[in-house]
Amino acid sequence: MNASALDPNRPACLLAPAGSLEMAMAAVDAGADALYMGPLGWSRRPSESEMNDDDIHRAIDYANARGCEPRIVLNTFPSPLEMDAWLDKVRLFGGWGASGFIVTDIGTMPLIREILPDTQIHVSIGSGITNAWDGRFYQHLGADLLIIPYRWGETEIDQLKATSNIGIEVFLFETVQTGIICPGRCIMSSYLKFRDWNEGEGNHSFHGSANRGAKECYRVCQTHWGHGTERDEPHQQLKLRSDARLMLHQLPAFIERGVQFFKLSGRERPTEMIRDLVTFYRKVMDGILDGSQTDMRHYETELATLQQRWVKAKSRRVGTLMARAKGYGEQPALHAGTRAHG
């Protein structure tokens, strides 16, 4: 069993997704140091990748009993009209033994600290940071960890460390530089269509995008769009963002720089894939940390196979979401003027 994330001698932790109780248990068993899971309607994912409160309670107990830290994703921007319900979730999961929260709305951070003075506050990718001074802002606000943007590499990590003492978390994706990459600064999906919660636990307000807790983001950035100067001319077909590739070669340098959490994405992926990825990254990180294998070329073939599975599942996922966008949440198409479009 891996050491606890609280162990000060263990500087780099593997933070694994839990889109279900089954996935939570598989990730813990495969060696995750920490686990993140989102309650229904409060964590920017469709309901099948979020968990009901009972399952979260069981996952917290399972993780804590095995030295794995349970973190709760409460990273929607709540409605100002539902803040009490949001804070009730913090109290509930904190009381059950969750050791930290992944959040976005800056107003909620001091409120969490007031309720749970010793909890760990992770700044979610949805906060949309772009520079090292953002880290300084969040440090002064009382956050413990900041997940850095997909575009950032070693230079930016050094700049962040020179500007603030906030802990650093990275996604296990290679850095990408092109395309519209803007988690936390995008409401394209809900402009076009959204589906609100009519059922489920506790979340019945108007929301808009998944950023706010609507049922799903349709990932419209990952489908093909015509792009050109005149609407009626033939367009080139483009995705708005590039596909991220799983990280490998950057890991040793990031660990050396003191990155504290390596976050594996994928609450919506199959459990077996997450189990295999946790097993893989556990092995890679342990090899770097104990010095037994620091040459990442050793893992290239194995990662290539995992990457293929990753891309295949992702493409299936985007297809599913776009089909939902077509079928769900029809809004009344009432327009003024003669040139309105449905």
Partner: protein, 324 residues
């Protein structure tokens, strides 16, 4: 609150102007305040947000016209942009701007550590969703917030009523949906040159001077691409609902005119000014709302954004609203 408490002198109608050329070309007489600069792209020609040498004349011109002048600070600065942003702050804070518009929290922190006392307006990409956030921002000198466009009218009024900050209420123009640190047009346009400067950045020949659109035939989805920012295809239009907004006690109205023509700026300003005056007049006769004219200026039609709790591109006419 009701409209007995609102009179014309407490109303502010504002819009945005990116550079001196637009300031010369646009008739801004209908507006009370101007947001200077394009916060999405530092490279845009003579952008007030990245040319400190242009600010003194601009702020003087706007003040001489009896209007307030606000400066927009670049919204998504990377570490490499921070020295330029610092230089802009140095220049702006030495001038009599009525406020700075800031989107980035790192820049907000910078201003706090400088001991800044110039009022700050939080920009649209500052992610203001809650009253709790407004209270945190107040400690940073934020006096006005541009609520995230996803907030409903009810939520905006709630924030206005429960925080010590003012809310800006966009009434017209394409809705900012996404902002990115790179330019999608330069990356993908077949017209754009792909030259790289010695620092490894693409050299821009400003293909964004033409209108670019993103469209997806399946569903009839249309968005406007201005390079680093993607806007709604349809124009937000609240002119039919001005009486209701004034009744709610809202008073800082904004026309989003990024990427629009001088005619668009002048016409929308004129129509909204007239709509406000008509709504506040006790003896006004019913007249045309101006929605037909605004519809003709909107290539992809009109919408109400999220104000009435629908997807952003839906439109609810006044009669349907009153019926609801």
């Amino acid at each position: 609150m009701n409209n007995n408490k609102i009179d014309l002198s407490s109303i502010e109608l504002s819009t945005n102007v990116a550079n001196p050329k637009q300031l010369r070309q646009c008739d801004i007489s209908a507006f009370d305040a101007i947001y200077l600069g394009d916060f999405s792209c530092m490279d845009y020609p003579n952008n007030f947000s990245s040319h400190p040498e242009l600010l003194a004349d601009a702020v003087a011109e706007i003040h001489n016209a009896g209007k307030k002048a606000y400066l927009r600070i670049y919204a998504t600065p990377g570490n490499e942009d921070l020295p330029e942003v610092q230089a802009m702050l140095d220049a702006a804070l030495a001038l009599p701007f009525n406020a700075l518009e800031v989107h980035n929290l790192g820049v907000l922190r910078m201003l706090k550590e400088r001991g800044n006392s110039t009022p700050i307006h939080l920009g649209v990409f500052g992610n203001l969703y809650t009253d709790a956030t407004a209270r945190v921002l107040k400690d940073y000198g934020v006096e006005r917030v541009y609520p995230n466009p996803e907030l409903s009218l009810k939520e905006i009024v709630y924030i206005r009523d429960n925080t010590p900050v003012e809310v800006l209420f966009p009434v017209h123009g394409k809705i900012p949906l996404v902002i990115s640190e790179t330019c999608f047009i330069v990356e993908n346009s077949q017209c754009a040159t792909q030259k790289v400067n010695p620092r490894g950045k693409l050299v821009c020949d400003f293909p964004c001077n033409q209108d670019y659109w993103l469209n997806r035939s399946n569903g009839g989805w249309v968005l406007k691409d201005t390079g680093r920012m993607t806007l709604s295809g349809k124009d937000l239009c609240m002119i039919e609902h001005m009486p209701e907004l004034l009744q709610q006690g809202l008073c800082c109205f904004y026309v989003q005119s990024h990427g629009e023509t001088p005619e668009y700026v002048a016409e929308t300003g004129r129509l909204y000014r007239a709509a406000i005056e008509r709504a506040l007049a006790t003896d006004a006769l019913p007249g045309p709302s101006g929605v037909e004219t605004l519809s003709q200026l909107a290539k992809e039609g009109l919408c109400n954004g999220y104000y009435f709790e629908g997807a952003g591109q839906t439109y609810v006419g006044r009669e349907q609203r009153l019926g609801a």
